[in-house]
C-alpha cells in the first residue's frame, strides 16, 4: 500500500462517492452549527421540504451574537437583530431535533470549545461548521474546516460535502520552546513566515517535538489559526495527550467501543515516506513571544522588534503595509514595546480555554491593571467559567480589575455589544487583526494570554520574559 499522510487516511475513510474528475462526496461525522451562519440554511430546508439527515451528528449552540454580561437570560439585554438570530436558532434546533445548548445551559459556549469539551470531537472524524475557525478541531487529528451557509444547508440535508482534495503541507516545529513562548507565539510565527496565503490549497499537518510537547489546549490554538495561514484545515496526529483528553468525556466512546476506537486512532499518523507537496521547518528555539503590528495576521513579529517600513516589503504588500500603518496609527521604527494599549480582551476560540485563563491568572495574581484600562476576560464556555471559578482564577481576575464575563465570542468579532471605539487599541488573544474587526476604527494587536495580561498591567505591549524577570528580582 502506498504511504499516506494523516490527511490522506482520514479523507479515504470518508469518501462516499468519487466522480470521474476526482471530486468526492465526503461523509461528515460532526456538524456544528451557530446562530449567525445557519438561519438561511434552515430556511432553505424548510422551503424545499427537507429534513436534517443526521440530527444526532448535529450540534447547535449560540455564541457569536450573545451578550456576555450577567443577566443575559433576559432577551431584553440583546439588540433586536441579535435576539431574532438567537431565537431563530432556538426554533430551528427544536424543529429539526438537533443537539442544542441554549444560552441558559452551562455547557453553552464558543462552538469550537463546546465540541471538544463534550467529547463530540474525536480523532479521525470529519468536522465542519459554518465558521472558519472550525480548523480548531484538527488538534485531535480530525479533518475539520469551515464552510459557507450553502454548504451548511448541504450538510444538514445530506450529511455530506462535495469536496476536491487539497494538497499536503507539513509544518514542523523542531526542538523545544523557550520559556515565555506559548502555542499562540508559535502559530503567529508560522503565519508571519508563510503569509496568510501560504497555506491556500493545502491541509497543514503540524508536527515536530515542539508541537508534540503542547497540551490539547495549545494544539487547539495552533490548529485554530491554520485558516489565518490560508489552509483549508490544520491537523495534529493524535497521541497519548489526545487520548487522555478525550477519555471520559460525555460523548466519547466507552468500554469496548473505546478499545475499538483506540485501535483505529493509533493508526492515524503520516507514514514516514508519505509525500508532502510543501514543507516548512522552523526551529522551536528561534520562536520569541510574538505580536502583530498591522491588519493581517501575517503582520507578526517578535515583541522585541520595531514596526517595519512598508518599503521593506515587496509587490502589493507595500501598499497594504502603508494602509495598515495608517489604520493602526503607527510609524516605522517604533518599538513594539512602546505601543500603548487601552483595552485588553482575553478569550475567543483561539485562547479562551482553561489553560489560557491559568496563564493570564499567573501574570495577574496580586496585581492591578493600569488605571483607565478596560480589560475583560471572556471564558470560552460555561464549563471553562465554572472551572476557573473553582480554581480561584475568577477572583484573581476581578481583584486585578478585569471584568469576568459569561461565555461567547464577544470582542473577537464584536457582533455583540463588546466593541472597540474608533482609535482604541486592544491587546487581544483572538485570531484576527483585520480593519474594523473589533469595532470600526478599532486597532488590534494579537498576542498570547500571558502577554495580554501583562499589557493590561503595564499599559503597553510587554515582553513577557522581561515582565517575569522583573518579577523575580
Amino acid at each position: 500500500m502506498s504511504p499516506k499522510t494523516l490527511y490522506d487516511k482520514i479523507w479515504d475513510a470518508h469518501v462516499v462517492h468519487q466522480a470521474e474528475d476526482g471530486t468526492c462526496l465526503l461523509y461528515i461525522d460532526r456538524h456544528l452549527v451557530h446562530e449567525v451562519t445557519s438561519p438561511q440554511a434552515f430556511e432553505g430546508l424548510r422551503m424545499s421540504g427537507r429534513k436534517v439527515r443526521a440530527p444526532e451528528r448535529t450540534i447547535a449552540v449560540p455564541d457569536h451574537n450573545v451578550p456576555t454580561t450577567p443577566g443575559r437570560d433576559d432577551p431584553e439585554t440583546m439588540p433586536e437583530d441579535s435576539r431574532i438570530q438567537v431565537a431563530a436558532l432556538d426554533k430551528n434546533a427544536r424543529d429539526f431535533g438537533v443537539n442544542y445548548y441554549p444560552v441558559s445551559d452551562i455547557r453553552q459556549g464558543i462552538v469550537h470549545i463546546v465540541g471538544p469539551e463534550n467529547g463530540w470531537t474525536l480523532p479521525g472524524m470529519t468536522v465542519v461548521c459554518g465558521d472558519s475557525h472550525t480548523a480548531t478541531h484538527g488538534a485531535f487529528g480530525a479533518l475539520a474546516h469551515g464552510i459557507g451557509t450553502s454548504e451548511v444547508e448541504h450538510v444538514l440535508a445530506t450529511q455530506t460535502l462535495i469536496q476536491s482534495k487539497s494538497k499536503n503541507m507539513k509544518v514542523e516545529i523542531t526542538g523545544k520552546l523557550a520559556p515565555g513562548v506559548t502555542a499562540k507565539d508559535v502559530v503567529l510565527t508560522i503565519i508571519g513566515h508563510t503569509g496568510t496565503g501560504g497555506g491556500t490549497g493545502y491541509v497543514i499537518e503540524y508536527c515536530g517535538e515542539a508541537i508534540r510537547s503542547l497540551s490539547m489546549e495549545g494544539r487547539m490554538t495552533i490548529c485554530n489559526m491554520a485558516i489565518e495561514g490560508g489552509a483549508r484545515a490544520g491537523l495534529i496526529a493524535p497521541d497519548q495527550t489526545t487520548f487522555d483528553y478525550v477519555k471520559g468525556r460525555t460523548h466519547a466512546p466507552k468500554g469496548a467501543q473505546w478499545e475499538a476506537a483506540m485501535d483505529w486512532w493509533k493508526t492515524l499518523y503520516s507514514d514516514d515516506d508519505a509525500h508532502w507537496d510543501k514543507v516548512v521547518t522552523i526551529r522551536g528555539e528561534d520562536i520569541a513571544p510574538t505580536v502583530t503590528w498591522g491588519t493581517s495576521p501575517e503582520d507578526a513579529l517578535p515583541v522585541t522588534a520595531e514596526v517595519p517600513a512598508p518599503e521593506s516589503f515587496k509587490g502589493g504588500k507595500v501598499e497594504a503595509a502603508k494602509r495598515s500603518l495608517d489604520y493602526m496609527g503607527l510609524a516605522p521604527g517604533q518599538k513594539l514595546t512602546d505601543i500603548e494599549i487601552d483595552t485588553v480582551f482575553i478569550g475567543s476560540c483561539t485562547n479562551g480555554r482553561i489553560e489560557d485563563l491559568r496563564a493570564a491568572a499567573e501574570v495577574l495574581k496580586g496585581r492591578k491593571i493600569k488605571e483607565g484600562m478596560r480589560a475583560m476576560i471572556v471564558p470560552g464556555s460555561g464549563l471553562v467559567r465554572a472551572q476557573a471559578e473553582e480554581e480561584g482564577l475568577a477572583e484573581i481576575f476581578t481583584e486585578a480589575g478585569f471584568e469576568w464575563r459569561l461565555a461567547g465570542c464577544s470582542m473577537c468579532l464584536a457582533m455583540n455589544p463588546d466593541q472597540l471605539a474608533p482609535g482604541e487599541r486592544c491587546a487581544a488573544t483572538s485570531n484576527r487583526n483585520f480593519e474594523g474587526r473589533q469595532g470600526r476604527g478599532g486597532r488590534t494587536h494579537l498576542m498570547s494570554p500571558a502577554m495580554a495580561a501583562a499589557a493590561a498591567i503595564t499599559g503597553r505591549i510587554t515582553d513577557i520574559r522581561e515582565f517575569t524577570a522583573a518579577e523575580a528580582v
Binding site: 449567525v36 474525536l122 465558521d131 493581517s296
Partner: protein, 201 residues
Amino acid sequence: MEKFEKFSGVAAPMPLVNIDTDMIIPKQYLKTIKRSGLGVSAFAEMRYDDEGNENPDFVLNKPAYRESQIIVAGDNFGCGSSREHAPWALADFGIKVVVSTSFADIFYNNCFKNGMLPIVMPQEVVDVLMKDAEKGQNARIEVDLEAQTVTTSEGESFSFEIDPFRKHCLLEGLDDIGLTLEKAASIDTFEGQIAQSRPWV
C-alpha cells in the same frame, strides 16, 4: 440558481492584497436571517463614512464603477471569515466575476454556490486586466465561461482554468443538494458501513 451566461461588463480595479471578508461585509450586517439585500452594505466601512455618506474616493462610488459586474483584485481575495454574506453582498451589488492571482479557499467555494465565478490568473494577466479596469466605463471586459476566456476591451484574450464539475454547475445553474440527493443510496450504504466499522461515531 441562474445560469451563468457570457457577458461583458465594467470591471472595478481593487489592487489591495488580502481583501478579507470583514472588509467585504462587516460583521454588523451578519445579523440578518436572509440572503438578499446585502449589496448596499458591501465594503461598507470603505464605502461610507461614519455618518453613512458615500466616500467619493472608494472605487465603487465613482461614477464609472457604480454598475461594475467584475472586480479585479490583489492577491488572496476573500481571506478570513467563512461568512457567505461576502459573496451574497457582492452578488447583490451585481458582481458576477472576481479575478485575482489567488483566493481564500472558503470564499472561493462560496462563490460557486451563488452563481459567481472566481477566476485565478497569473500576476502578469491580472496586471493587464487591472490596467484595463482602470479605464472605467470606457472598457468592458468580456467573460466567457463556456470558452474559459477573459477578453480585455482591447481584444486581448486570456484563458483560465476551472474545475469541470463547477463549470458545469454554473453553466446549468444546478443546485448541489439536488445533485447529491441523487446519490442518497450511496450515502445509505456508507452509513451502514460505518455503523459497523466505527460505531462510536
